[in-house]
């Protein structure tokens, strides 16, 4: 099942990135939609974000959670049939949900666009995921619950809470519903959901992956286990408050905005505690770099994790946000996290995991090295292009002339962005080609082989 989920994740990463490249090309050549609604930016962009976050991201997290929870608890999965249901039903939801987005079904909430029938299906699958995961933890043979399970557990609980609250809506047709919340309350609930989806899925979930697979890669324990637990609780406590920074200078109370800003700044401490822990763990395992091409991905992902978790709180400061908000700087920030952190750590994990799942050596170290440099070039170019575009937009939109009128028109500003968008397209292609190389490399590694069946290793010391 873990091998299948790895395969699904790679498939969705290619589909999602291809959609991203297409919408990036549409921003350079707007007629690329050929007048067809399903090819329009408004529909493909949602397909891109949903497939990448929920198709690629969740399939990768579900697979690695199912793998690591068995290893760390020394027992097989609780209710394996239910686990198979989660794994397969999730792919069906992503496939049909993606098609529904192309058909124009859209709930209108960012990162929660899927309509109510899918929301109900997601709830059922997610509760099944929780039953399997926590059921496995409940029957564990080791008393201590390893830190990666705390992060995966937080992912499951918090995403369930966010999804159920934010998806409350009144259906009026199969394809349309209206949010139960109205006005500013709707915005607050939406960004409580949106920001914590970033927090507990794209940050916390992938930290679960880091805390299990980094020590495995490095073949040594995490540098400070105590620090990892302190970071977990500080992260969990502070992240949940930070959502209102998406609503600066909007129709929500000033104190709510300020609270969101302050809690976003507080968040830097637990985020960087994990960064220090990761860097120091890998620093002692330098000799592994000779034999493990995947470790480079993890090292680089930590660098971008550091950037994204610093940049986010900085952009939450109101005097920065006044310039950065609604510009491509935000898109650059999101992608430094999504490409630089989430994708790279997942790729590094897959290069480690899949050869072990099928009991073979990686097909080509050289292809993995090419992938590394293409990914690094892609993410750097992307971030630089969006920094240039975003800061220019912020400056131009706010520029006043001698009599206090806006100096530049919105249309002219956007027209001048085409070169940056072309550069972003090149960056996306570089990253995508790297991912295709990985898919080929892993396919050739697994081709014709069956999955290795492992039995839980004996518990050293006193079993629980």
């Amino acid at each position: 099942m873990v091998a299948w989920l790895t395969g699904f994740a790679i498939f969705w990463s290619l589909v999602g990135m291809a959609a991203g490249i297409y919408v990036a090309a549409e921003l350079v050549w707007p007629t690329l939609d050929f007048g067809r609604e399903w090819l329009s930016y408004g529909r493909l962009r949602n397909l891109h974000t949903n497939v990448v976050i929920f198709g690629f991201g969740i399939a990768a997290l579900m697979g690695t959670a199912f793998y690591s929870v068995q290893r760390t608890c020394h027992v097989p999965l609780f209710a394996p049939g239910l686990a198979w249901f989660c794994a397969l039903a999730w792919q069906v939801v992503i496939l049909l949900g993606g098609l529904s987005l192309l058909a124009g079904w859209n709930g209108g909430k960012e990162y929660a666009e899927l309509e109510w029938p899918f929301d109900i299906a997601i709830t059922v699958i997610w509760v099944s995921f929780a039953v399997v995961f926590f059921g496995t933890i409940a029957k564990r043979r080791i008393q201590q619950i390893y830190v990666s399970n705390w992060f995966y557990g937080a992912l499951i609980i918090v995403i369930a809470m966010l999804h159920i609250v934010n998806s409350q809506a009144i259906p009026v047709a199969w394809s349309k519903s209206y949010s139960l919340f109205a006005g500013a309350q709707d915005a607050v609930v939406q960004w409580w959901y949106g920001h914590n989806a970033v927090g507990f899925l794209l940050t916390g979930g992938f930290l679960g992956m880091l805390y299990y697979f980094l020590p495995k890669h490095a073949d040594r324990p995490i540098w400070s286990y105590r620090l990892s637990i302190v970071a977990f609780w500080a992260f969990t406590y502070s992240y949940i408050w930070a959502g209102p920074h998406h609503l600066h200078y909007n129709a929500v109370p000033e104190w709510v905005q300020s609270l969101g800003m302050v809690m976003s700044l507080v968040l830097l401490a637990p985020s960087w505690a994990t960064l220090v822990n990761g860097v120091m763990t890998v620093a002692g395992a330098w000799e592994k770099l000779r034999t493990d091409p995947a470790l480079k991905f993890i090292v680089l992902s930590l660098a971008f994790y550091g950037l994204a978790t610093f940049e986010g709180p900085m952009m939450a400061i109101k005097s920065v946000n006044v310039v950065s908000h609604f510009t491509d700087w935000t898109i650059g920030h999101v992608h430094s996290g999504a490409l630089g952190w989430n994708a790279l750590i997942t790729f590094g994990t897959f290069y480690f995991l899949l050869p072990r799942l099928v009991g073979a050596e990686l097909y080509s170290h050289s292809l993995a090295n090419w992938h590394f440099w293409l990914a690094l070039a892609g993410v750097m170019l992307y971030v630089l292009a969006m920094w240039g575009a975003g800061v220019s937009q912020g400056l131009l939109w706010l520029s006043l002339d001698e009599i206090g009128e806006l100096r530049y028109s919105f249309k002219d500003i956007m027209a001048s962005m085409a070169p940056y968008y072309a550069l972003r397209l090149v960056a996306g292609c570089s990253f995508f080609i790297g991912a295709v190389l990985m898919a080929y490399n892993l396919w050739m590694t697994a081709k014709g082989r069956s999955v290795v069946r492992a039995t839980p290793p004996p518990v050293v010391g006193e079993a629980w």
Binding site: L275, V279, M280, V282, A283, W286, E287, L289, R290, K296, V299, L300, L302, A303, F304, G306, L307, F310, E311, M314, M315, I317, S319, V320, V322, V323, S324, S336, A377, M380, L381, L384, A385, W387, G388, V391, S392, G394, L395, L396, L398, S399, L400, G404, L406, R407, Y408, S409, D412, I413, A415, S416, M417, P419, Y420, L423
Partner: protein, 204 residues
């Protein structure tokens, strides 16, 4: 070593990465000498180009008329640019020296500072693009320079700072993390200054 401590010699070294690391490793330069003979003169170049370009043509950000800043404003911004560059070289060298224990690199601060100058050299030379003050053109010029700087960082660090290839790779990646954070901090500080009324006339 003194003969090496000239901007011209460093500019030539970046075209020979294979020997650059070994050349830096061969000596232990004094920190004040690196500061006075390399860091300060090189840090004057980008602000000077930016001043000349900005005063002559105005900055084009796209979207219409170029943005002209008064001579006093340009002087202030160029001065801030110079200070940011010197602070950038010094802080990166401090961070590299701080990491040296962890990655088994040499401990002399002067060596770290001269290595940081080597890595920054392509970007300093690419600031020639400031004479054509268009943001996108400068971005296009800076990208190959940054790629070359990154290449020098990874390629030359093990030899220049006396550590193994593998530990050098990890140290270089840690420095990339610091440089990314430092770059975005600079961006943030600049925007805060704009929001506070220093710089262009913004409606905030």
């Amino acid at each position: 070593m003194d003969a090496l401590l000239t901007p011209w010699r460093f500019a030539r070294l970046i075209t020979r990465p294979a020997e650059a690391g070994a050349r830096l490793a061969a000596d232990t330069p004094d920190t004040p000498a690196v500061l006075l003979r390399l860091v300060i003169p090189l840090s004057l170049i980008p602000p000077l180009f930016a001043y000349i370009g900005g005063a002559t043509f105005g900055w084009r950000l796209g979207g219409g008329e170029p943005l002209y800043i008064s001579p006093a404003g340009l002087t202030l911004i160029s001065l801030a640019y110079f200070i940011a560059l010197v602070a950038g070289f010094l802080s990166t060298a401090v961070v590299a020296r701080w990491m040296a224990d962890t990655y088994g690199a040499r401990l002399e601060f002067g060596s770290h500072l001269s290595f940081v100058v080597l890595v920054g050299m392509p970007v300093i030379l690419a600031s020639l693009g400031h004479l054509v003050p268009h943001v996108f053109i400068n971005l296009l010029v800076m990208i190959p320079a940054l790629i070359w700087s990154l290449y020098l960082l990874y390629r030359c660090l093990p030899a220049a700072l006396g550590t193994s290839q593998e530990r050098g790779m990890l140290m270089a990646s840690s420095l990339v993390a610091y440089l990314l954070v430092a770059s975005v901090s600079l961006l943030g500080i600049t925007v805060v200054l704009w929001s506070g009324g220093i710089g262009p006339n913004l409606g905030v």
